[in-house]
Symmetry: C2
Subunit: 404 residues, 2 copies
C-alpha cells in the first residue's frame, strides 16, 4: 500500500517550506537558509551525532523538543555554528527570531546548521533573511532542500503515501549530505515531515529503530560529523486515530518512514563527496544481525575497496581483508563474494578462496553507477545492508582545497 | 649511548643478506625475493596481523618459531600467497628449499609474502632463484630491502649500536610498507636483526611492548593487511651475557630496538601510498595512555584531516571532530591544537574553541614535508604519538588502478 509521491517535506498535509539566500554565503545564487513549517504543533523526535564535539544548534534543538513537540525547522548552511564561544546564544536567537515572525513559541523550533567548524556565525544575515523566508512559505520543499545543500551535487527529497487506520498518510523528507563549498564535515542533515497522527513517544521509537538500519549504515569517509541530525515532525493532519502503541498502524507508519529514509540513504551515499558510484553492500548468512552489520560497514568503509571500485577493479581480496579486520565473528573460510549491477552478477570468491571468473564481465559490471557487493557468511540467517561510495580524485580535491 | 650506524639488517655480527629477481614479477629490474641469514641459530620473536584473514606464510612462520628459534628470513614480493587453496604448501616448500640450500632446518625459517591476494603463487621461480639468492649472501641489507619493496618509493633501513653488559650490540632493521606495483594491501613487513644475546622469551616481551608504541601507531589508510608481520632475530654474537630477565641490560636493548622501530615507523608513514607529507600526531595531557593513543590514532586516520593536510589547510575543526568521535574519554572543552614544522608553530585552538591565528603563517608551516599536530587534552599526564600521511590524488590513483 506504499506509494511514492511528489512534494518532499510539503507532501504531508499542513506543511509548507521555503529557502532563501540571506548572506551567510558570499555566493548570492546559493540559498543558505531553509524553513519547514507546520500549521499546527506537531509531535517531534530527533536523533543526533554521537560525536562528543556537538554543534550548538543540536543542544538547543534537544532542549526544545524535550517535550516531544515542535512546529518549525530552521537550518542555515555555510557555517556549522560549532566550537564557537557564542554558539548557543546564536542558535537560541535564531529560534526566537523565527518564532516571532511565525507567531509561535521559540521552544517549538528545531534549529540546525551546517558548514565550517570554529568560525563565528553572525546573526545579522539570519535576522535579515527571516521575513522573506516566512513570506515565501509554500509548496517549496525543493527550495528548502537547496537551502541546506553544501557540496551536494543534487537535491535529495522524497515522499511516500501509506494507509494508517484507513486514512491516507504521507511521509516526506529532505536531506543534505557529504560535503560543503568550504568543506569541513560530511555533515548529514535529514528533515522528515508526516501528517500521520502519532504520539511523540512512538515517533521517537520509530525513528530510533529506523536509523539503526538506515542512516547509521551509511559511510562516505568514516568521519562522524559534529552536526549530524535527523528530525521528524508529525502533525496529525491525516486524521487517523493517533498511534500510541505498537501494532498494524505503527508498522504501516514505520514502513513508510523506512521507505523514505532508505531512499535518502542511497541518495546521500551516491552523492558522497567526489563519488562516481553508489556502493551497496548486502550481507546475508550472518550469525546475527550485529555481525552482519559490522561486516557490511567494514567493507563499505575500506579506503582500498572504495578506490578499487572507482577503478572498476574486481579486487575481491580487499573485501575479504575488510571482513577479516572488521571485528565480526565470522568464519573466513565460508565467505562468498559476488559483484552485481544492471549488467549482471559475477561470483569472485567462494569458501574464502578465489574462483575463476571473467575479468571482462567483471569490468563491465563494475563500470556501472550502482554496484552491489553481495557477501554470504554461511554462519546463519541474519542480513544487513550498508551504503557508501567510491573514493575518487575529487574527494581529495574537495577536501584538500583551502577553506578560504 | 645509542648511536645510529650503517648496515641495516647486516649491521649486527653474523648476519648477511641478499635480494634477487627470480621471476614472480614480470619486471626484470625489480628484485622479488629477499633473504636474511644468521650464521648461527638465533632467538626469534614475531608479531602478526590481527586480521582474521591471514596469509599462509604467517601461519607457517608461527609454527616454525614456536620454539623461539630461527636462522633465516625469506620473503617474496609480487604475490601475498593469501586466500590460495595451496598457500600453506607453497610456504612450506619455500622453507624447505631455502633450508636445503643453506644447510639448515626448514623449521628455522621465517617466511613472508607480500603482493596481490587470491592469486596462485607458483613455486618454480622461487625454486629457480634460491641458488643465486644464497650464493650472493653478503653485506647486502640494501638488496634484501629492495626485494621486499612494492610501491614503496624508497628503501627503509636503519641500524643502531647500544651497550649491553659492557659489550657493543647492534640492532638493525628493514621495512616495506604502504603499497604494491599491483596494489592490494598497504602491507607492512619489518625484519629486525640483532647480535645481542637475549632469550626468546625476553625478545618476545621486548617486541610485544615495542609494537604497541611503534607499528600499532601507524596508519596509512585504515586497512589492516592480511600479511603484516614484524620479526626479530637475535643471534647473540655480540658476546654479552644473555638477557633472561628485566633490568638495565633489557632496558638498553629495548631502547635500541625502539630507536630502530620508531625510525622505520616514520619511514613507512611518510612513504605511505601517494603521500606527500609525514604527519606526526603528538598527544599530551591524556587521562591515561590508552585515551591518549585513541585520540592520536583517530586524528591520524581521519580522511578529512589527511586531505586537509594535503591542501596545507589549517582546518583544525577536523582535528576536533576526529577527537570527538574517537571514543576516548576526553573533555572537548579543554582541548588545544597546534601545528608545527621546521617553519615554526601555530596555535589554532584552545579550550575547544578557535583562537585567532595567521593563515599565512599556518600555510607556510603546513607546506612542509613533515608536520606535527600537537594536541593537549588537559586531563592528566599521559602521552602518545601516532604517525600517518596525507590523503592525495595519487593514493586514489595507485589503488584505483586495475590489478593487471
Amino acid at each position: 500500500m506504499l506509494k511514492q509521491i511528489q512534494g518532499g517535506v510539503c507532501a504531508a498535509k499542513g506543511f509548507t517550506a521555503n529557502g532563501v539566500h540571506c548572506g551567510i554565503r558570499k555566493n548570492k545564487t546559493k540559498r543558505d537558509l531553509a524553513l519547514i513549517y507546520s500549521e499546527v504543533p506537531a509531535s517531534a523526535a530527533a536523533v543526533y551525532t554521537q560525536n562528543l564535539v556537538k554543534g550548538a544548534p543540536l543542544t538547543v534543538t534537544k532542549n526544545n523538543i524535550a517535550d516531544g513537540k515542535a512546529q518549525a525547522v530552521i537550518c542555515n548552511s555555510g557555517n556549522a555554528n560549532t566550537c564557537n564561544a557564542n554558539g548557543m546564544e546564536i542558535a537560541e536567537q535564531t529560534c526566537e527570531l523565527i518564532a516571532k515572525e511565525l507567531g509561535m513559541k521559540a521552544t517549538d523550533v528545531v534549529v540546525a546548521s551546517t558548514g565550517v567548524i570554529g568560525q563565528p556565525l553572525d546573526i545579522t544575515p539570519i535576522a535579515n533573511g527571516i521575513p522573506e523566508l516566512v513570506k515565501g512559505l509554500g509548496d517549496h520543499s525543493n527550495l528548502a532542500c537547496e537551502g541546506i545543500m553544501t557540496t551536494d551535487t543534487r537535491k535529495k527529497e522524497i515522499a511516500f503515501e501509506c494507509t494508517v487506520d484507513g486514512k491516507t498518510c504521507r511521509v516526506g523528507g529532505i536531506a543534505k549530505g557529504s560535503g560543503m563549498i568550504h568543506p569541513n564535515m560530511a555533515t548529514m542533515l535529514v528533515f522528515v515531515t508526516t501528517d500521520c497522527a502519532i504520539s511523540s513517544e512512538m515517533l521517537a521509537k520509530a525513528l530510533s529503530a529506523d536509523v539503526k538500519d538506515s542512516f547509521n549504515m551509511i559511510s562516505v569517509d568514516g568521519d562522524t560529523s559534529t552536526n549530524d541530525m535527523v528530525s521528524v515532525l508529525a502533525n496529525g493532519m491525516a486524521g487517523n486515530k493517533e498511534i500510541t502503541s505498537e501494532g498494524d498502524d505503527f508498522d504501516a507508519f514505520c514502513a513508510a518512514l523506512n521507505a523514505a529514509t532508505t531512499y535518502l540513504c542511497r541518495e546521500i551515499a551516491g552523492d558522497g563527496e567526489g563519488a562516481t558510484k553508489l556502493l551497496e553492500c548486502k550481507v546475508c548468512g550472518g550469525k546475527d544481525e550485529q555481525n552482519a552489520k559490522i561486516v557490511a560497514k567494514s567493507v563499505i568503509c575500506s579506503s582500498l575497496f572504495k578506490a578499487a571500485m572507482f577503478g572498476a577493479d574486481a579486487n575481491w581480496g580487499r573485501v575479504l581483508c575488510a571482513i577479516g579486520y572488521s571485528g565480526a565473528d565470522v568464519d573466513v573460510n565460508k565467505v562468498g563474494v559476488a559483484f552485481r549491477s544492471v549488467k549482471g552478477t559475477v561470483v569472485v570468491c567462494e569458501n574464502g578462496a578465489g574462483v575463476p571468473f571473467s575479468e571482462e564481465k567483471a569490468k563491465e559490471i563494475l563500470l556501472e553507477k550502482e554496484i552491489e557487493v553481495l557477501i554470504t557468511l554461511g554462519d546463519g540467517e541474519a542480513k544487513a545492508t550498508a551504503w557508501g561510495c567510491d573514493l575518487t580524485y575529487d574527494y581529495v580535491k574537495i577536501n584538500g582545497d583551502y577553506r578560504t
